[in-house]
């Protein structure tokens, strides 16, 4: 039996990401974002929604660029912190002690300690309501080499990203392996045949 919660902005799993930008004085800033996801495979694009009230929002509009930095579980406290305080009155690279580097491809900084970075140029901007959705074209992905598997794919168990729960407001890690995608064409056979 299902119960109705009414209109709500909740979805599971939701990512915990840190968006990095330069302000008008070229000072690096970072903030947490959870309203985000991949939105196109070719060209590769991700969308990130921010409130116009945030310092990062104006920075993205100014430079038309941002990075999406994926924290590992080891940095969940820093990822939470940069979603609470504002870059208007806090130099978050100082309060977190994280290392800022300059992207060579887009006009945005990134966090060296985080294991995965998406370097993005703004492709489209959608004013949706309380949030503005920035669609960024991913011009490059950088990762720490030790998060790659033997096929050079990102191994989520080595990356150890953070899952955010809207509503309850808690962070979780990644759990057990359930199985491989594209192996269940015929459910009666119990799966396990890999697709060509």
């Amino acid at each position: 039996m299902k119960t109705s919660l009414g209109p709500q902005s909740i979805l599971y799993p939701t990512p915990t990401l840190v968006i990095c930008t330069y302000d008008p004085e070229d000072r690096p800033n970072m903030m947490t974002a959870a309203w985000a996801g991949v939105c196109c495979s070719s060209p590769p694009m991700v969308s990130v929604s921010l409130r116009p009230a945030t310092y990062s929002h104006a920075n993205i509009k100014l430079h038309k660029a941002f990075t999406v930095c994926v924290p590992s579980q080891d940095h969940w406290r820093e990822a939470d912190h940069v979603g609470i305080v504002s870059g208007r009155n806090t130099l978050k690279f100082q309060t977190t002690g994280l290392t800022v580097k300059r992207s060579e491809l887009v006009e945005a900084p990134y966090i060296e300690e985080f294991p995965m970075i998406l370097e993005c140029k703004v492709h489209e901007v959608h004013e949706l309501g309380l949030h503005t959705q920035f669609v960024g074209e991913v011009v490059n992905v950088m990762v720490d080499e030790d998060v790659l598997d033997e096929n050079d794919n990102v191994d989520i168990e080595r990356l150890r990203p953070i899952i955010f729960s809207p509503g309850a407001g808690v962070y979780h890690g990644v759990g057990e392996l359930l199985g491989k995608a594209r192996t269940n064409r015929n459910l009666e056979k119990g799966g396990d045949e890999e697709e060509e």
Copy 2:
């Protein structure tokens, strides 16, 4: 030391969702989607990206509605299956054995066995490239009562959603609790003070 992977559409965690629609003959269809996320808090909106080649794409354009059905780990095989076969030649509600119900609020069906359903009306459509991004306004969220915590928030450990890994193509469950959001205003204090 970071290594560059070039432009890629990867992000972690990425959700595993099943989008339900009616076709032109009012037959229910469902397909897996991972390029999705919340994109606005007020009004509540989610975005879901599908390729124009999919059967569901035309169904959404026709009815201007869809549901986002969140599978639990128990249905990872069914969630994988409906991303492999097409609704053009397969009645997926039959091959999966899942129960279809009709939304009372939008022109779309949903899956009774899945613990969380977002009923969505199309708000905007963005042609981005290989994928079309549908921004849906969430007019209602339905959940199984047993996934709610004592504050009537969704408890992700009871919902047990599925994490998809692009690239490696594997599914994972949700792992251990890391901590509570908005408790790390002052990192030097070690956190744990809740924000007002």
